[in-house]
Symmetry: D2
Subunit: 248 residues, 4 copies
């Protein structure tokens, strides 16, 4: 049931846009296994996508599409109420753009991870999650579906399998979990772990397939991949330490 | 040298956007051989693209990408000065989005036809034409390049062959040509042909591989496909007559 | 309490965008008292705004800003979850753009009517309504606030007065009301009134300050203005008949 | 003829967009006299505009609109071919948005400075410059027109006066001039002055109303204001030194 071995590292990259730069992608790419690349609807533009794909190819990193609500001005962090058919088309457009550009340089897109508000809304709303999975399932190539590892992982696995797609559960290295397997809101103290606690959590996920929740309870968390952040040089330091822990 | 047989019909479709409807795609699709589909940068949105692709599939119509400068507000009719690397990335993004969405329903993208100001600028500027051809040549699948049939067709064919791509020359059914093989500007009288003259021009292109220019001169025009318009029901009537003429 | 006299007619105009045309503004403008003009965030662009303002000036029609969520692709019909400070800034930008362009041709903006999903969300959510009213109240010029006439009109009037702004209640000529003063959903039969019933409803609003609800109950409805639609020539015919009824 | 006294300092500010931050506006604002604020078409969004205006108000800095071609993805640095009526409407929309939001907090917009490619295109093209001046002249409030100080300053002054608007000539503190009064292209060595040469140039502009060109020639340059850059902390240091020089 638990999956203590082989945790991968994934990071959201390609989040610059036009003249605006975001993140330190060149520093992060050497440490990670999976790059979730913005598709132009919340961040990223055709040139940024192309450069990020080339960087992933250079470092042998697997690439995933990181599609979003259509909301550049809000960085995809604002919930939008879309009809299911509309959302499905919007996701397939983004996935196709990224997959084709990847294929142009010999890469094969391997997964889809929804971004920002869409990610959160989809974790909370089964209908929305179904729309996302349908969007992925209708794509011509097999694509895994990256979603949050929670206490409901078995339900989510069944849902994905019903759509014929493979789930990839991700845990968060630096965030504190509550007893339901949800992330503590950033508004609450202790929501973001210290460097030391983060490394403890990674080790426990890796060795025991569990986390210790805010109340001190042990919670089984089936995770395939760890989400790390590459926003700034300090964050990159943390990625290096996690990498060292996972692949000493 | 001339190519009197087998003229195809192509039309620009999928030019609606969100709540705004443009064209009568359902009426046009049954008559044409090739649908040049807007990719979302001057018109079209993910749902419109999906619907247009499905309509093409239903009628067995070949599909092409109709990419543009990034200019929704100007419908891609305003020239923009982009660096070549920028333009190439922008085109590849649009092509990939359309190609992938086509493949999702079992269609294979067959060609690329630049839109509007980009089309005109590219016909006038060899460096820009090279950037467009490089964008197409770098795509992972073979894609033909649809461009205007002019007196320079041999040069253009050589250019395309140097990039390893197949040119598709298009002539305009309803536009009067000048002696250089350019279209008479719409500002000039006689630029848009009457129904009768249009049918004469189509017949001459089909049977003789030539047009009669505004000065009365016979001009050889190597054309693979005829561009027709589907903006309104009247235009659709003309398409029906041309179809009848080409495939009686 | 009721307000049987002096009903005005308002219509949403300026909803074209770039090459896409929507509505028959030239036919509608002669019949109405108030033009609610799209500000470029769900429809309208600088040229369309300028032309619509000039048309209003020509016909002596009062102008209002018709701001929206930032959602061109969805025509402002998709709910978006924005922080209050964000929404307020977005509304003030749109209002300022329209007010200044009006002033450039000697017009004075007189009111603000939120559009589409924002309008519906605001009628259902008091916090959102407060944000809209704060946005209006902070503007340098006095601007009325157009909102839906419902059974809660007294509450809404108090809210507006607390912000120091004047409410303008609008009723819908062609829509059937339920007993709570809400519009019957378009999904239900009878939601959109026949021409004859529409004229009866207008007459009752005008003479008695009330509507007859779907259940046959008389409901007092305090309305300052009637919303009419100018999407197509048929709709314009209805406006003409309503105008005739109100100002015989 | 020369104008050795009273040089002002202006800086382009408010160039963040959504989640992307650009510039160090808080550090720059205390040193400058005029803030040219992006209007949302190449950078800036309603919240950024509101914050930048508030910051200008706090420091008693005059505010100008910094409108652009409609090109967020290109930061307004890509030339676009717009019809004059289209450009005029686009400029007036941006100016109105900024002017109204300024007025909401008690500020009065004082000038307009075109941005990026529009600025360069307008300096090179008299018809485009006329369109910009017409856009400004048609605004309901008097607005000065900030443009580059070149050897043609007398012609430009006459043009502006013909439109009834006041020109504000700006010189560049840190750029080397050629003998025609144009800036040396950044591609050429010596185009961007060292800190020491920059301060010499500022002093010469201030005291003698002239610059020393790349060839060593003295060129009279009538300047009202000096353009400085606030992109990074180092640039801010230079602004402080220039301020010290101008107002010791």
């Amino acid at each position: 049931m638990s999956k203590p071995m082989g945790l991968l590292l994934n990071c959201d990259l390609g989040e610059s846009f036009g003249a605006w730069t975001q993140g330190v992608d060149h520093q992060v790419m050497p440490y990670i296994d999976q790059a979730s690349i913005a598709c132009g609807f919340h961040a990223g533009d055709p040139q940024v996508i192309k450069q990020t794909l080339a960087l992933a190819a250079e470092h042998g990193v697997a690439v995933g599409a990181h599609p979003s609500y259509p909301d550049l001005a809000g960085f995809g962090r604002r919930s939008m109420k879309l009809a299911a058919t509309e959302l499905i088309a919007i996701l397939q457009y983004q996935i196709a753009a990224l997959a084709g550009m990847a294929q142009n340089i010999g890469l094969s897109l391997s997964y889809v991870k929804p971004h920002g508000a869409l990610y959160n809304d989809m974790m909370a709303n089964g209908q929305l999650r179904s729309a996302v999975m349908q969007a992925i399932a209708e794509c011509h190539q097999p694509l895994a579906f990256m979603l949050q590892a929670t206490a409901d992982w078995e339900t989510h696995r069944s849902e994905a399998e019903a759509f014929g797609i493979q789930p990839l559960f991700e845990a968060f290295a630096d965030r504190c979990y509550d007893d339901s397997g949800a992330l503590l809101s950033r508004a609450e103290s202790g929501a973001v772990l210290s460097r030391e606690k983060m490394l403890d959590q990674v080790q426990q996920l890796q060795e025991d397939g569990s986390v210790t929740t805010v109340s001190g309870k042990r919670l089984t968390l089936v995770a395939d991949t760890l989400c790390v952040h590459g926003d700034n040089p300090e964050a990159v330091g943390a990625i290096g330490e996690i990498r060292q822990l996972l692949s000493p």
